[in-house]
Symmetry: C2
Subunit: 347 residues, 2 copies
């Protein structure tokens, strides 16, 4: 019985289109002899589209994207400091709008040090953990404002919103994931300072932990967590944390595992009510765009996450294995397309 | 003409008293043949004192401490999970209360990789930067709350408050510091997501930058900043950032420069209206307390910051040089007291 997956593809800006081309190459290769077909619709969104049309993400865009089974996104964002973009917040208006509207409450970010990948640590150890970052709450909600803007009396506030509903569902996801892994879960927050937000996270982790007696649970303040990411990242299995702390920890985690050129992510709505979205952690890097210098590995590993999410676990494992083999045999510089083709050729 | 400095000493909990004993040893040694005398008053504050008396920081404590010229603090905080402390937030009620009440708006945290100090990076480069962390605003203000606590309908908020007054004074301090150093300043924030708080920081940095044409200014999102701290920390000179981002970055910076056993800090009120407070970045580490296992170097380097703040620059430089020489010649384990004595002996 053949299956058709409707995939919305958003190549985006900068290096986005280049890395997405390679991700599609790999997706095509791994599904070539299966009975799964990806029916792709391309969406032209991002800074370039904003400059052309003035639109960031319209209701029509959203409706069209929502009608898909999943989303593959490259990277969005124009050249920093471009005056024409000064009133376009592509990050909030496009990327975060997708995450919030499509209720991507699990931002899944695995970190693994592949053999052959060179990170900055002298003794990295065997790094293999997943950050489960909350994706729809916290300081990211956009509940802020300013008065007396531009004057010496300006006051600018930002409010972090944390709900039991929102925290519980992501914490449950993290515990389920820990059950399928090494059964260790670390909550990262700053409970000693952000006492209200911290208390709701700690309470709910404690409550859900009681249902998972075989999962070892600990807690780290976010500042201490960065120390361990630099000195002993192998200690982590599953980290669950809020939107902002997750943003910070996963960039650092990407760095210690060989660079964000290798870091994949899934913005997941586990209920299936909305399509989940898969994207490399890196940005659009306009400075190297169009030069075939970008590493498409993070985008390709995002394909592995996409396949896994769709239940195509064998195909997902084949992509991961091909990436792992490619990284292990890397020497010398290759173009974006060369890396993509080499990985696709292993499938 | 002899000078008397009234110093409030708060050894605190855990390893606090051990490291402060060594810091005092060094302070005594470096001032022995000068005309400066430190007139010390000891304050018994922290988790131990709370357990004994129920008090964290009384108005009388505050008044007494405020009557000093400067404060030396070890570390405060009890054993994590001690049920008797569950309603005592020593961090907010004591440490942050001191920082806020004494208007310590500059939290000064230098990071330097000393010869002989072993950090986790394979190729650390020549690390020498200072984080100027805002100390009285941002997400640390404690403007939060929760409704329907403990229920599935709980909502817990935290508000970050940022004022032009508060941001400008710390940004000016950072630019003045950059002028005396390598003339490079990096603002770290998350302006693309925290748009209101981010905008006030960016605007004021731009305005003050115009008065310092010889300082090269750049900007990094906090997530990207952690990548550079792991991959190229030598690029930084002065970093200016908010209270929470500064907390996170300085623990990571401590780790990459050989551990928070070496990281010193000053909580400074540059106006002199209130006494400034000097403390190691590390915590009370109750697990190793009383065992002479703690490294007192961070506390001793905090003495160097204290001396510098008091205008005793020659004495400050002598302490730094003694620490530097001690680190360069380290081999084998020494007790807390042995390290303190070795550094004092070099003075
Ligand atoms: C581009 C930005 C809004 C985004 C975030 O902060 O989540 C990015 O840093 C990420 O981690 O995906
Ligand atoms: C103990 C805690 C309140 C404190 C902070 O968050 O500022 C500490 O982490 C620090 O960096 O001095």
């Amino acid at each position: 019985m053949s299956r058709v997956v409707k995939l919305a593809v958003i190549p985006g800006d900068g290096i986005g289109p280049e890395v997405i081309a390679e991700a599609e190459k790999v997706l095509d290769a791994v599904t070539a002899e299966t009975d799964v077909t990806f029916d792709k619709t391309r969406f032209s969104l991002g800074a370039a589209r904003f400059l052309e049309t003035g639109d960031t993400l319209t209701d029509d865009d959203l409706a069209a994207i929502s009608a898909h089974d999943a989303i593959l996104l490259g990277a969005v964002g124009g050249t920093p400091g471009d005056p024409r973009l000064k009133n376009a917040n592509i990050e909030r208006g496009l990327l975060l709008k997708l995450r919030f509207t499509l209720d991507h409450y699990v931002n899944l970010r695995p970190s693994k040090l592949f053999t052959g990948a060179a990170g900055p640590l002298a003794n990295p150890g065997d790094i293999d953990f997943v950050v489960v970052r909350e994706g729809t709450e916290g300081p990211y909600v956009g509940n802020g404002g300013a008065i007396r803007q531009g004057t010496p009396h300006e006051i600018a506030n930002e409010t972090s919103v944390n709900t039991a509903f929102g925290v519980e569902r992501v914490v449950r996801y993290a515990f389920d994931l820990a059950e399928r892994r090494r059964k260790k879960l670390t909550l990262v927050h700053k409970t000693n300072v952000l006492v209200h937000a911290g208390a709701i996270w700690q309470r709910i982790v404690n409550e859900v932990a009681a249902e998972h007696p075989d999962v070892a649970v600990d807690y780290l303040h976010v500042d201490a967590a960065t120390i361990f990411l630099a000195t002993d990242p192998a200690r982590f299995d599953v980290i669950v944390t809020d939107n902002l702390f997750g943003d910070i920890l996963t960039d650092l985690a990407g760095a210690v595992t060989g660079g964000i050129g290798l870091a994949a992510s899934g913005n997941i709505n586990p209920s299936g009510a909305f399509p989940s979205m898969f994207e490399p952690v890196h940005g659009s890097a306009p400075d190297i765009a169009g030069q075939q210098k970008a590493d498409p590995t993070a985008a390709i590993l995002s394909i592995a996450l996409l396949l896994d999410h769709l239940g195509l676990t064998a195909e997902s494992a084949r992509v991961s294995a091909a990436v792992e083999a490619d990284i292990a045999s890397r020497d010398g510089a290759r173009t974006t397309a060369e890396i993509g083709s080499a990985i696709a050729a292993r499938l």
